[in-house]
C-alpha cells in the first residue's frame, strides 16, 4: 500500500533528506527549501501536512537573535518512510501484488 502523504514529490524529498540524518539531527527550513525546490509557503504547507500525520516535528528558536525553524523526523515518520521505500522497491522488483505495472 502506498502512503499518499509521503509519496507526494516535495514531501518525499523532505522525508528522504530527514531519513538520511540521525533522529537527533534536524534540518533548517532554508536547507529543506533548497533540497525540495519548493517556495516558502509551499514548503510550509507540506511540513504542516507531515506534522499533522505525526511524521515530523518542528522546533522554533532564536540563534544570534535570528529566528530558526528546524524540522525533525519522528520515529513514526522514519518507520513510515522505510515502509514506503520498501513498497516502491517491491513495485520496481515486480514483487508487489497490489499495484499495476
Amino acid at each position: 500500500m502506498t502512503d499518499e502523504i509521503i509519496h507526494q514529490s516535495v514531501r518525499l524529498r523532505i522525508m528522504a533528506a530527514l531519513a538520511a540524518l540521525s533522529p537527533a539531527q534536524g534540518l533548517e527550513f532554508v536547507r529543506l527549501k533548497a533540497i525540495s525546490g519548493a517556495t516558502d509557503g509551499n514548503l510550509g504547507a507540506h511540513i504542516t501536512t507531515l506534522e499533522n500525520a505525526g511524521y515530523v516535528h518542528v522546533e522554533k528558536d532564536f540563534v544570534d537573535k535570528k529566528p530558526r525553524t528546524r524540522v525533525f523526523q519522528t520515529k513514526a515518520g522514519r518507520k513510515a518512510f522505510q515502509a514506503h521505500v520498501e513498497f516502491l522497491k517491491s513495485i520496481v522488483d515486480g514483487t508487489d501484488t497490489e499495484s499495476t505495472s
Binding site: S9, L12, R13, I14, A17, A20, A53, V85, K89, S99
Partner: protein, 196 residues
Amino acid sequence: MTVSPTHISKDAAAEALAEIDGATTHIRELKGYETGAPYLILWGIVWVVGGSLNYLFPKSAAAIWNVATAIGFVATLWMILSSKMPHTDATTAKRRRAIALKVIGTVATMLAFAWITMWLIEPQARQYSLTFFGLLTAAVYVLMGIWMGLRYALAGIAVAVAVIVGKLFFADMFSLWFAIFCGGSLILCGFWLRRA
C-alpha cells in the same frame, strides 16, 4: 494519515526511488560540507601563518613549516574530539577514538610522505616544496570533490590556480603569495562550504 492501496506504475516507483536517491545524496553532500568547512579554514590559517613567517624568516623555513604542520595536526585532532556527533553517549566516545586514530594515521602518512619526498628530491629552494605541497593539497581536494561534492573540487582548483599563478609570476615572493592566496583560498572556500 492517508495510507491507501493506490496503484503506482513501475516507472513512477522507479522515479520516486530516484528522487529519494537525489535528496539523500544532496543532504549527505551538504552535511559533508558542514563537517569539512572548519578544517579548510583551520589549514588555511596554518598556511597564512606559515607562509608569512616563511617570507619573514626564510632561513628557518623548514622549522616553521614543521611547527605549523604539527600545530595544525593537533588542532585537527582537538576539533574532531570536541565536535558534536549525532549519536548516543555510549557510542560517541568509541566513534571519536576510531576517527581520531584514522586522522592520526592519515596525517602521519602524509607527513612521512612529505619528509621522504623532500629528502629524496632535495629541492633547491623552499618555493619548490611549497609548490609541490600546494598542488598535492589541491589534488586531494579535487579528488574529494569527485566523491563528496563539487565544492571541494572547486576549492582544490582555486588552490591549484593560486599556486600556479604564484609560481609563474611571483616566484620572488612566492611564500608570501602562498600565505595570502593559497591560504586565503582555503579560508574563503571553508566559509563558502559552511554556507552551502
